[in-house]
Symmetry: C2
Subunit: 217 residues, 2 copies
């Protein structure tokens, strides 16, 4: 009869939502869609399963929020790289490229996380919108950096160049993330910079090396 009911603390709506989103992204990254069940998500977020639906209308609703949060994080990570760089357009571009080709952006779990959302993105119009906006926003940022280079001001050719450079980044991000053992340390970054330099026919400076142990999850 002595019922042991789990003790708990009340938290703000914002904290609970963030915890649930973080838990969902972690599980999705580690084990794919099948691992991110409502019970597993709630468990990792430190609550019981029933509470999820107190903060999200449905699991799909939580999935949408998690996807939006992921895309937000990825774009902000890239943008931060250019702001901390110098004023030289070539250096800014190099920093922008480099940050995408090393951890935590270039990472196997990140790639798998992104891949796991693809099918949701196809069906859900809201997620599709976020996907397109994120991709085009990233590419526009790249195009702006390219147009800032000397002699690359023409928008029409800059568009084609930004698509090509974006492809180099995405392709290397994919391969470096999924097959990390196939590349030497820093090789992906180096190849990416020289390829983009060749595409743009513009020399690029070597960006500063990654901070050794700045980000520990």
């Amino acid at each position: 009869m002595a019922e042991d009911r789990r003790p708990y603390r009340r938290e703000s709506q914002e904290q609970r939502r963030e915890a649930l989103i973080a838990a969902a992204l972690e599980l999705l990254a580690e084990g794919g869609p099948q691992a991110a069940t409502v019970r597993a998500i709630a468990d990792r977020a430190g609550i019981t399963a029933g509470l999820i639906r107190h903060y999200f209308q449905s699991k799909d609703d939580l999935t949408r929020a998690a996807y939006a949060a992921l895309m937000d994080r990825m774009t902000s990570e890239s943008l931060a790289a250019t702001e901390s760089a110098s004023d030289d357009p070539a250096a800014r571009l190099a920093a922008f490229v480099a940050v995408s080709l090393r951890p935590p952006v270039m990472d196997g779990e990140r790639v798998r996380l992104w891949a796991g959302f693809l099918h949701h993105v196809r069906r859900d119009p809201m997620m599709r919108e976020v996907h397109e906006a994120t991709y085009l926003g990233y590419r526009d940022r790249l195009q702006a950096l390219i147009q800032a280079l000397p002699g690359k001001a023409d928008p029409a050719t800059a568009r084609a160049l930004s698509i090509a450079c974006n492809a180099v980044i995405d392709g290397l991000w994919l391969e470096g993330g999924t097959l990390p053992d196939s590349f030497a340390a820093g090789e992906v970054e180096r190849i990416g910079l020289s390829a983009i330099s060749a595409i743009l026919k513009t020399p690029l400076p070597l960006p500063p090396p990654a901070p050794n142990s700045a980000e520990v999850p």
Copy 2:
């Protein structure tokens, strides 16, 4: 009492396995992992669910076979492109690149299919092996084509160049497949060829246009 048992025909093991693999790939491409249930797969293959385990030890076993079949198809599609091309090394390379950047290789469902397997690949050692072998095989093929170009015989630099060119192809394949409306007809192919031409510092001829309506699913 008059039991209406579904009529059936006995088929060869090979035919049944192929039908099951094809059905699994179709469902995986259309609706992702959650859509490819054993019942749905059996239904599309024209049999009842119980029979799956007569030809595959488990669903994971079928998944493995389906992945191997997919990778096999993708590599053979790419290899076929170079064999039908002329003897000119640059033309062969251009044909190899072009076939990867237009349907049926560059296709949204194909990308989602590939992405859906990523988490399986991570866990299953057999699938991981197939994945690495396919990727490295494709890249080796690309490297061989590059080394055949005049003045590109050095293996060390050809390796870096093939990684870069492969990234261009993969990135454009990804973006063209997932965001087909963001590109004009033939634009992806054109951008890919000129980017690779710039990376290799070698002019590439325009490959023959895709046959208009050769492949109708």
